[in-house]
Symmetry: C2
Subunit: 505 residues, 2 copies
């Protein structure tokens, strides 16, 4: 038997992003509950878990304060009477400590950690300790597979009841919207490709941000199944469907800390692919000095892990290491990158973005057995040339309630300024990371129309005073700050090598 108090609920309008029970200090003391402890709340035969915070004035001794967004799930309302008691720390905290002690976790221990993350039984502090422990001590292949399976099992699964579901994923850091070109290519050839994508965290735009410029991206499982049934694919934001809630929570904390432990990134990617029932998958690992994977050797290690876990969970996967050193296409920012994908599909030019999209589409077509080895690229390129991929892209935009159907209709920010070469010579570096930062200063991704257009590419010759790129923004303040930043970091962003080092007469 546990000491229990009856309290009256008061809903508090704050988005705390986790289930917080706000108790009066005296009530908390009486329950022996300190901040960060858990209380159990019994209500209408349901049993809920909350993390304790205390106040002296916000609620009185007989009241339980509950933060708003959580009640969306639990339906608790101001005035409800609930039974509140102190809970012990969940067992999963012991398993986190086990990982801190560098012990291997078994399948059930991993399941319990993942379940407790989903059920909000673990606090951010505990999840952070788990992530640090996984980063330091690592997880072996079995643990990675177990995490992957547990994350898939605790979220929605979208089933299509077809033998082949194709997908791709890039582990990121590069501009250019390969997925917005690959998805129409693949679906135009009759395959199913239910592409879910994220919004930007640290880049100038995510695929979901870019697609949102053209059409809706927030869809639930039912919508996605309907759209795939009608046109074969779609490009949806992965935040509306609840595919891997444990992963989403861990990603938030990982991003804040800049932690990308290999095992977790791999489990994260593959669990989301398993959740959309993918059977054939291309993983794109950009390799370069400013992206997640720095060297070819690291890339190969990542690739082998991806292949092993894919096999364990039943996805036929191929991994490609790609050039992460140069910008992919010439745009940074949501609307601009959407425009770039459109221009490729409209056959206006064939740049390195188009090339990458055809390579990845080609690999998928070879993997699924549509063509023999070495013929995929040509088939993919043909769907662009023939206009077949563009037609499919418009179908996808239409089914996503879209309103923009050509590159020329894509709206771009109204204020603009050009950044000019500070010396003459050949461009040898255009730093993706610096360009991304400038685009973000100009307003991306919140201002969907803000960003950068590159006017030159790596390898091109330029003269002093020639424009290298333009910055776009809807805020004159932000544009000015972005221009200042671009000028201050010019030599780091754009490296120009003199062609003639010295003239001797």
């Amino acid at each position: 038997m546990v000491y229990t108090k009856t309290l009256t609920v008061k809903i508090i309008d704050i988005n705390a992003d986790k289930p917080i029970a706000l108790l009066h200090t005296k009530t908390a003391n009486d329950l022996l509950a300190f901040p960060q402890n858990r209380v159990g709340i019994k209500w209408k035969e349901k049993s809920l878990h909350y993390i304790v915070d205390v106040t002296d004035t916000m609620v009185d001794e007989n009241t339980l304060g509950i933060y708003k967004d959580i009640t969306g799930v639990t339906k608790l309302q101001t005035g409800d009477k609930v039974e509140v008691s102190l809970l012990p720390f969940p067992q999963s905290v012991q398993y986190i400590i086990k990982k801190i002690k560098n012990k291997v976790l078994d399948e059930n221990e991993i399941k319990e950690i993942i379940n407790d993350i989903v059920d909000n039984k673990l606090s951010d502090i505990e999840i952070s300790a788990f992530l640090a422990a996984v980063t330091i001590n690592g997880i072996n292949l079995d643990e990675t597979t177990d995490i992957c399976k547990a994350m898939t099992a605790t979220g929605d699964i979208i089933e299509f009841n077809v033998p082949q579901v194709l997908d791709k994923h890039s582990i990121g850091g590069i501009n250019g919207r390969v997925s917005m070109i690959v998805t129409p290519i693949i679906t135009s050839l009759g395959y199913i490709m239910p592409k879910t994508a994220s919004r930007s965290i640290s880049s100038a735009a995510g695929t979901a941000d870019c697609m949102e410029v053209l059409a809706d991206v927030s869809f639930d499982v039912k919508d996605i199944k309907r759209m795939v049934a009608e046109v074969g694919g779609m490009l949806a934001w992965n935040g509306k469907v609840d595919l891997c809630p444990a992963d989403d929570k861990m990603i938030k904390i990982r991003h804040g800390l800049g932690l990308d432990p290999e095992g977790l990134v791999i489990a994260s990617v593959l669990s989301k692919k398993k959740s959309v029932s993918a059977t054939h998958l291309i993983i794109d690992i950009p390799v370069g000095p400013t992206v997640k994977v720095r060297t070819k050797e690291d890339g190969e290690r990542w690739a082998n892990k991806f292949l092993k876990i894919s096999k364990d969970i039943g996805i036929k996967t191929k991994v490609v290491l790609t050039n992460g050193e140069v910008p992919c296409g010439r745009y940074f920012g949501a609307a601009l990158e959407a425009k770039g994908a459109f221009e490729v599909l409209e056959n206006k030019y064939f740049d390195n973005l188009a090339e990458k999209a055809c390579e990845i589409s080609g690999c998928l077509l070879e993997l699924v057995g549509r063509v023999e080895q070495g013929k995929g690229y040509d088939l993919a390129r043909e769907t662009i040339k023939s206009g077949q991929a563009l037609t499919k892209f418009k179908e996808i935009i239409k089914i996503q309630n879209g309103h923009i159907f050509s590159s020329e209709e894509v709206p771009i920010a109204k204020f603009t300024e050009e950044i000019k070469a500070e010396e003459s010579g050949k461009i040898v570096v255009m730093d993706v990371s610096c360009l991304t930062k400038i685009a973000r200063t100009s307003g991306a991704p919140h201002d969907q129309q803000a960003g950068i257009i590159l006017l030159k590419e790596v390898g091109e010759k330029v003269k002093i005073g020639e424009s290298i790129f333009t910055i776009h923004s809807n805020s004159q303040d932000k544009l000015k700050i972005a221009v200042d930043q671009a000028k201050a970091t010019f030599s780091e962003t754009i490296k120009i090598e003199k062609i003639i080092l010295e003239e001797v007469n």
Copy 2:
């Protein structure tokens, strides 16, 4: 130049225990600020740092919500106009990641982490990752010394301008209030002993809780200096003085995770002692199966580290390993443990609590050169026998505005029930950890008068049905639950060995 918005402050009455800036989602997006990012707030030439949380309704787009307790420091008020801008992650996050990568941190990197913890520039999530990294990768002796010095430097320091300031510390887990006996013994002999102590976290009572039954314990630096000048010592709560704010914040997170990394515990203890200008110090390390240090070998390793760091920071220290296997004295709970300390000083009996207090006082007297090696114990015991220590204890109580001056005046909870032996034999174990849990269920430490009185001790013979201990509580509900718990866990709490295993006739 950084993009800045002018917002109006709205004070929100929640104790968030860290500086949170609550922004409307649109305002956060415009500033490019995600939850867990930092914003800088400029106001009256001050520059403040807050961690971002977002809401759609609690504040509007032009308002900055600030949680209440923080404004106690910053003096911000509802209606103030402030300049808000996104800040990069603090440099110290990079040093935390460096420790995650198992690199040694230098003095400046450690200073920056500790300063940023004090200045609330690091979030709980980041501090948790740091603590996990320190637990897993460890810190070397230099890092430990640097942390110790940085923690002392970022808090108040109490200076007494005398050559000798004596102190003691126990790294805990045991009942019995040794400090309430040692402090009057030492100060009755003319030394200065400014004892600061904590409240209970997981035990039935901390020294501050026990002393609070008799007198006030919340004092600031000025009060402490005055009291020490007048009577030589005091027993104050360490939470009112701001000796090591970085340590206090880390301890909160460590307790939630159950992490006690050696280096940090040592730095924590010694930084607090340096902050009260201690020159001579006894560290008590209880060793036993249910306390922090489990084996003698571990105890010796801890001891050597304590000695090395003490030397580095200029404190003459002796470490004693003590028996952590049996209860210390016969009481659990704030009022009861205060009563026990009183009874020893009143010379009513001489139990293992009295013995430990005299041993530790004796070591201090030898360390400070008052008596030669081996004579300290007798001198300490003599101050009890003569009543000199009791007189000093009453002086200390009086100067702390106390109102209870004898063991008989100590109030005890009104409801009580006896727990009886379930078999006959000899008591071989009385488990401190189980007894603590029962005392807490009965209401300790919130109910200061609740707790346990042991009626028998380890080694004593008992008959079935004889009372072993009594539980005290001011709540009949809590008493009932504690009694049920005591009965359910009896064989774990009290181990009784049969003296005659079998009678053969």
